[in-house]
């Protein structure tokens, strides 16, 4: 896989920067100059949204790809962080919002999201892998119903609107260009952070637990505690994504973390690929493109414009059937085809 840093401890250090493939430089340069030609819609709705959904899916990818834990509660963690920002910060619902400054409400949002994720993790990891999906889906829907019913704190069905990012360093972060760079920064930050942690003792232990929990216990690792810690870590990219999502749409309501979005996050991560942290961003981009242009695509295919769910569902099924590693897996397969030895037809591996 095109992972500049995952080739093992053997070649860590040295010129790590020099070994980043050219494609990454090109993609980075492209993303930096997008605002010079893209419209506000493209920056805000296409790229901004992709980065945000990518971050939330990244937290699922970290748990599922490295830890084998398919948590459906990551969108819920994001939603909770968004709610805390709305409740502690400023919104149009002046009865509830506390108007606290950003340097209190954002850390509060991260902290509460992390605590919540830790509790969810503790509940989910006490049973074996396959139960995780059930338990986290149930927790996610509990949160959805709770926020919909609770008017004291979560303002029930309508939620909060008029939530804007703070004016910091003299920049209006609502401005599409500023918001684009803000979302890009955090997306890249968490992408690199997950990549980095994947090679740390914590990340390696998590992958060991994914492959063989019994052996990890026999090696002296506390399997349960590692899993719970993974949930805590994964809360942070999700929470940042949730806060940005709240700012982007200027509102948060129970539907933000409803059953549909909760499942979409899993769909995005699986479509992109769970093997590498770039997968969720690829998946998010494809999802956002499909969602934004599904009407045109479907009409071009001669179908009714509102069948977006059918399109995404069939795409998801196709991926699960033919490429369990998602679009990244497809890409790797295509690349390997070109690297096959023409004589013996076998894969030529670069060791």
């Amino acid at each position: 896989m095109a992972d500049p840093a995952a080739n093992g401890n053997t070649d860590s250090g040295g010129s790590r920067i020099g070994r980043v493939p050219a494609g990454y430089w090109l993609a980075g340069a492209f993303l930096l100059v997008v605002p010079s030609f893209a419209s506000n819609f493209v920056m805000y709705q296409i790229f901004g949204w992709s980065f945000i959904l990518g971050m939330i899916s990244l937290s699922l990818m970290f748990l599922a790809g490295y830890g084998g834990m398919f948590s459906l509660a990551q969108m819920t963690v994001a939603g909770l962080a968004g709610y805390v920002v709305a409740i502690c910060g400023t919104s149009a619902i002046t009865d509830i919002s506390q108007n606290w400054p950003w340097y209190i409400n954002i850390p509060a949002a991260l902290l509460i999201a992390a605590i919540f994720a830790t509790i969810v993790g503790w509940l989910a990891v006490r049973t074996e892998g396959i139960y995780t999906i059930m338990i986290t889906l149930a927790v996610a829907s509990a949160f959805f119903y709770f926020t919909r019913q609770n008017y004291v704190l979560f303002n029930g069905f309508s939620g909060f609107n008029g939530i804007f990012p703070p004016q910091l360093f003299g920049v209006d972060w609502r401005n599409p260009i500023a918001f684009y760079y803000l979302a890009l920064f955090w997306a890249v930050f968490w992408y690199l952070a997950v990549l980095y942690v994947s090679r740390s003792p914590m990340g390696l232990a998590l992958q060991g637990i994914r492959d063989n929990p019994r052996r990890m216990a026999a090696l002296g690792f506390d399997v349960t505690l590692h899993r719970v810690a993974a949930y805590t870590f994964a809360a942070f990219p999700a929470a940042i994504g949730g806060i940005l999502l709240t700012w982007q749409s200027a509102q948060i309501s129970p539907g933000t973390a409803g059953i549909g979005p909760v499942i979409d996050i899993l769909v995005i991560a699986v479509i992109g690929g769970l093997r590498h942290p770039i997968g969720p961003f690829v998946g998010a981009f494809v999802y956002v493109i499909l969602k934004s242009f599904s009407i045109d695509i479907l009409v071009a295919l001669g179908m009714a414009g509102e069948r977006f769910q059918l399109l995404i569902g069939l795409g998801f099924l196709a991926i699960v059937f033919w490429s369990p590693d998602g679009l990244l897996g497809l890409w790797a397969k295509l690349r390997d085809l070109n690297r096959r030895d023409p004589l013996i037809g076998r894969l030529v591996r670069r060791l």
């Binding site: 006490r126 059930m134 119903y145 019913q149 009714a304 998801f316 099924l317």
Partner: protein, 338 residues
Amino acid sequence: MVRRFARAHPWWSIWIAVATLVLLYLIFAIWPPWLIALLGKKKLFLNSLFNGITLGSLYFLIASGFTLIFGLMRNVNLAHGSLYMLGGYIGYLVGDLTGYWLLAFPAAFVAVGLFGILLQYFVFRRMEGEDIRQTLVTLGISIVLADIMLWMFGGDFYNISPPSWLSGPMDTFFVTGVKRSSGELIYLKYPLVRIAILIASIVIGVGMWLALNRTRIGMLIRAGVDDRDILSASGIRIQLVFVAVFAFGAGLAGMAGVVGGTFQSIAPGEDIRFLLASLVVVIVGGMGSIPGAALGAVIIGIAEQFGSVYFPTYAVVVTFLIMVLVLAFRPRGLLGRN
């Protein structure tokens, strides 16, 4: 068995005995004024209790198939709610076309069961042993099915009406109060169709229990739930067992759709609602256990009904609270194997 349980868990036994006595008192006694002041009218209480039990019987119909499929194949069938809804729509069409309500049940059972066979044969058999991948496939199927059903049936509510001989209330022997003027006892009236469905679920539940415990194939399935290698070692054609169990579980979900369409209605979104209900029931009751599904279904049904009467704002939250408590103390569910 009772004695063994009592000896192993003395405190639990005492609690269960006390709770049973209190419940019996609440059901059969004529309530004194202080109790009415505390809990409201007895009629309200009895109604929520019975509604809870009948709702539980509906949950049981759905969750028993879910838990059987999960137990045997380790397949978390996230399309189970979609099968329920499919059954509801099919039942509606059949009932509407033929005019026979009873015909809707076998029609939904057979049609959804066949669909289950197709799923097992063409999809899940190809990913044997890949739990997560199977689960993801069921998720994809549920997304696709939901949209196709929305496409075909639109966003309207469909209500399956029971035949005239089953509609209307029935007199029961439960006393709700005393007439102040004459001193006559007032008896509870309860919808006949709900009672019929409760009885039907009990019959199905007992039938399943007998089939699982008294027949050779049933015992094999139970052994397979405990240890899947036994099945392959027993020389039986394991794929056939899988197909049969999946078809039966799917068919039950389809039949439950007819029940749900009669109780309430069929509309987009119901698939997710009943998928969640089966998840919670199975988590509470114990994964892979039929008696667990029955216990969990009754607990969740009653909790939901009492919740909606006594704490209307947080009715849904009560059920999830129960789930979290069970998970915290018995991660494998009340009757699950630890």
